[in-house]
Subunit: 159 residues, 3 copies
């Protein structure tokens, strides 16, 4: 593979990780992580070691059908540091809607990741981000604000 | 062309389609679509067949100078499935401001597209998205909220 | 370098420029600009010539720790126009939070850039954007809205 093909594969890994996260597809998310992956989300406040611990944290934080997340990663600056290692810097935008608590959290950050190629497939070896800003507001401040669509709302969860 | 060049060309097609949509450049938008293109926007609520029907729907929905849209597509996962066929998954963020009705609609979704190469040019053969969430609010909830710039505002449309 | 490698290098330049801007890393931002760079930000309202004048404007506009910016560029349409020249069209989303004035400004735009390769490195030769829309609101309209994280807040700046 050429360097550009490796870089495209690493971008794809990150996109799949985010898609699995926001779609709450936990097995697929796990497949994106090295078994000894380490995280330092939220300026290091949420630091975990190992795929199982990371998955447990993410499922607890974002598993509920009333907890809707939309992460978006941009501006990839990927560096190949060896045949099976790479680093990446990404801009992050994130929105988390807690429909039960009637809260919205929004923010911007920069991810700094490390990747490792295992058995021909890139995996996330380390991931974490530092906030540029984060803000929170009650959704009751804007009386008309209505969630008109929630992919995870089934019986008993509105909408 | 190499696979990466094909993928870059498909990304460019999608970017041109979105730019034409948000800039209300309907002829350019039409040129992005196969003549027998099919859509399933909004979880299939907005399903159309054929370039003419799709253009009619988009112009009716978003043609007004008081209806400002900003679509953003991210996280491309493009697969070449043959020499002239490909699929694509994209994350979508969209904002629609209806300055007349004083409404803002925002949301996130995942597109699943099919592309076809006709006469050396990639076209959108099928496009549609499933919502992660959508929300709507009245712009009058936030009394100070002012539209300070609208590219489409001419005589008689404020601002 | 292949055309795709040149295009990747130009994208990386733009991402570094935005990262330097939002992280207030002015020396790094300056290194992204040709010395005779020209700007036409904000539909040409903010037009400057020369790296020094541009940096002075950006630092004055966004230098304060209470002025948080988050620019995001998307949908790159890069054209190589010669061995050392290129053009680029980008979609922009931007958020500026003025924590002191308690204002948020948000908007969407399209950048049209020119790039030049000098001594083997791509630089921004010309950059400017035209707004699709811009809106402004007082953060006091939403009483609960709180900035919970600001990367630039040190002693005496909340939060």
């Amino acid at each position: 593979m050429t360097d550009l093909e490796e870089i495209e594969a690493i971008k794809r890994l990150k996109y799949r990780y985010i898609r699995a996260l926001d779609c709450k597809e936990w097995a697929d998310l796990g497949a994106c992580l090295a078994t000894d992956c380490r995280t330092a989300y939220g300026d290091g406040r949420f630091s975990f070691e190992g795929r199982a611990a990371i998955l447990a944290f993410l499922q607890e934080s974002l598993g509920a059908a009333t907890r809707i997340s939309s992460h978006r990663v941009h501006h990839p600056e990927i560096e190949l540091t060896g045949p099976t290692t790479a680093t990446g810097v990404w801009a992050l935008d994130d929105v988390v809607i807690d429909a039960a608590a009637k809260l919205t959290i929004r923010g911007a950050a920069y991810y700094r990741d490390e990747y490792v190629k295992i058995g021909g497939e890139w995996k996330i070896a380390e991931t974490g981000y530092r906030r540029i800003y984060e803000e929170m507001e009650s959704r009751t401040d804007t009386p008309s604000l209505a969630l008109t669509r929630n992919a995870f709302a089934g019986a008993g969860v509105a909408p």
